[in-house]
């Protein structure tokens, strides 16, 4: 029999496996933070967590509500500021940026600014915040988002945060640091990465019980699909146990789905 888990638990467990031990990760609140916390308690005890407001390597006593609240530097090694964080990313010391996303396109560009006309938007979202900075400056950007046609779109209403922009070479052309860019997109249906030749989105693996066609159907653009598509290993008992008992006992995040 397989263990029961919900969509959010699945995404967090799967995503956490991509955070290597001994690396640095800049996270937002919510799922990305929970993911990094899980990774620390699993295979990456030496994963260094950074928060944009200035918190460095805290001993997180619980899930922070804000990327700036006091938990983000609780027993941290340093309580700094925004400039310290972003310049550390710009110097090349931060390996992963872990973002959420509203709209995303085939090159991993993200929209979190507006739906509709910029000057008179149908929906005004917060804007970049630190997302554009992290995705520009960190080496590898991971994105966690629900998989649907309304989110995976052919054309973004607004490119808030850079993925590979218009494809291979475009980041470098724009002046973004060479070697940086989107790494993995983790959704409730699949894990997606980017084909080297084109830097376009590709299915890396589909989650247990999810058909490739289902992923295609929920994506508003042409996905690259290899002949053999692997199945994502499901969350393990241990992952789920630690996630539920230690990372998010109040179910603030995993209770959402």
């Amino acid at each position: 029999m397989t263990t029961e888990y919900n969509m959010m638990e699945l995404m967090i467990c799967v995503a956490s496996r991509y955070l290597e031990d001994g690396k640095t990760v800049a996270v937002g609140t919510g799922a990305p933070c929970a993911t990094a916390m899980l990774a620390q308690k699993m295979a990456a005890p030496n994963l260094v967590i950074l928060f944009e407001a200035g918190g460095i390597a805290p001993m997180l006593p619980q899930m922070p509500i804000s990327v700036g609240d006091s938990r983000t530097f609780f027993r941290g090694i340093m309580a700094a500021g925004m400039a310290e964080m972003m310049t550390t990313c710009c110097r090349g010391l931060v390996d992963y940026a872990f973002l959420g996303g509203a709209q995303i396109d085939r090159y991993g560009n993200i929209n979190s600014t507006v739906i509709g006309d910029y000057y008179k938007p149908k929906v005004r979202f917060p804007g970049s915040g630190g997302a554009n900075d992290f995705a520009s400056l960190c080496w590898r950007t991971l994105v966690m988002t629900v998989h649907s046609k309304s989110r995976f779109v052919e054309k973004l209403d607004f490119v808030t945060t850079p993925g590979y922009l218009t494809g291979k070479g475009a980041r470098e052309e724009a002046g973004l640091p060479p070697g940086s860019g989107p790494y993995k997109i983790i959704t409730d249906l699949a894990v997606l990465d980017f084909e080297d030749k084109t830097k376009a989105m590709r299915i890396e693996s589909v989650h247990p019980g999810v058909a490739v066609d289902k992923v295609r159907k929920e994506t508003g653009f042409q996905l690259i699909v290899q002949e053999m598509v692997e199945e994502t290993p499901p969350p393990t008992e241990t992952e789920l146990e630690i996630l539920r008992d230690e990372v998010d006992p109040l179910r603030l995040i995993i209770g959402r789905s």
């Binding site: 500021g81 925004m82 400039a83 005004r124 520009s136 490119v159």
Partner: protein
């Protein structure tokens, strides 16, 4: 200097460092008692139409008490520096105080969701906007703090965020590489909530400083609200701890729990229940009006607001939360 690409939106403030120097040439350097009330400080330093920047991080170490006073004083047509703003922006939108915003992060309250009222304001098209990123807005303050007209960063490049900003893409005179040049900004007034200050404005902050050190050095007028006042000797005994020197400061206001309902590191946690009541109330404009009368317009002072929010008992609870005694 050749400009490779230019953001389409206009700047709200002049990036000329010599105009700023003329202002700072006249600013007093004397150590005088700068204590005053919120009312007096709003009267003196926050006229209609001025450009405002607020310290802290949206709902962490924010000068809530002072922002309430800005609402009660019915200030209008303010410009706002929207870096990492959450509850502070929500408040200014509640008062319909602003007509132009430099945006890095607005409308949202992070994991708590989006502010319905702030959305109404921003989607009305009545507010002039210019797009940036959190770091870009820190870098603009930093350039001003350095007394120069621009700074360079590697964010924003290649995106609509740059296209809809006032940034300009330039090439490095050494490497030829492209950078986003962001213009210095000297806000008319910066409001920062700190842990301790003396009556002259020398300040201590515990925990993250966010962009407040840059803001204190960039703003033409700096208003400090402090959890508590300390004697000047408490500053001089350990000058390494001073993060804002008095000569940058124009007003000092002692406001215990001044960041409520926001978090004040090491002192009290945020009141999430009250913050979600805000989001709830905002859904219906009529109810929101009543809500604002009850909590802001209908109270004479911040103390009264604290009382209406649960008073000392609530503050004690938030102190225990912060101390991780109650979880």
């Amino acid at each position: 200097m050749e400009v490779v690409e230019k953001g389409l939106n206009q700047l709200f403030m002049d990036p000329d460092p010599d105009k700023a120097r003329e202002f700072f040439a006249k600013k007093s350097r004397s150590m005088t008692d700068k204590r005053m009330t919120e009312k007096e400080a709003v009267e003196k330093f926050v006229p209609n139409g001025c450009f405002l920047a607020i310290g802290g991080f949206g709902a962490i170490r924010i000068p809530t008490a002072f922002i309430h006073e800005i609402l009660r004083a019915r200030r209008k047509n303010l410009g706002f520096y929207g870096h990492t703003s959450t509850h502070d922006f929500q408040l200014l939108c509640a008062g319909r105080c602003i007509d132009r915003v430099d945006i890095a992060y607005v409308v949202g309250l992070e994991a708590r969701g989006l502010s319905p009222n702030a959305r109404r304001v921003m989607e009305s098209g009545e507010v002039q906007v210019c797009e940036w990123t959190n770091y870009a807005l820190t870098a603009r303050l930093r350039a001003a703090a350095e007394g120069v007209s621009f700074g360079i960063i590697r964010s924003m490049l290649g995106t609509d965020t740059l296209k809809m900003s006032g940034a300009r893409v330039i090439e490095c005179p050494y490497t030829g590489k492209k950078f986003a040049a962001v213009p210095a900004v000297w806000p008319d007034v910066g409001i920062i909530h700190v842990h301790e200050a003396d009556i002259y404005g020398n300040c201590h902050i515990r925990g993250i400083s966010v962009s407040d050190l840059e803001l204190a050095r960039a703003a033409k007028h700096v208003i400090i609200t402090a959890e508590r006042l300390v004697d000047n000797a408490a500053i001089r005994i350990n000058p390494t701890r001073t993060v804002i020197p008095y000569y940058l400061v124009d007003a000092v206001i002692e406001v215990p729990f001044g960041s409520y309902p926001g978090n004040m590191p090491y002192l009290y946690y945020s009141d999430e229940e009250h913050l979600s009541r805000w989001l709830q109330a905002e859904k219906d404009p009529e109810e929101f009006k009543r809500f604002l009368d009850q909590y802001i317009y209908g109270v004479a002072s911040f103390e009264e607001y604290l009382e209406r929010c649960g008073g000392l008992a609530k503050m004690r609870e938030l102190q225990r939360l912060e101390a991780l005694v109650d979880r």
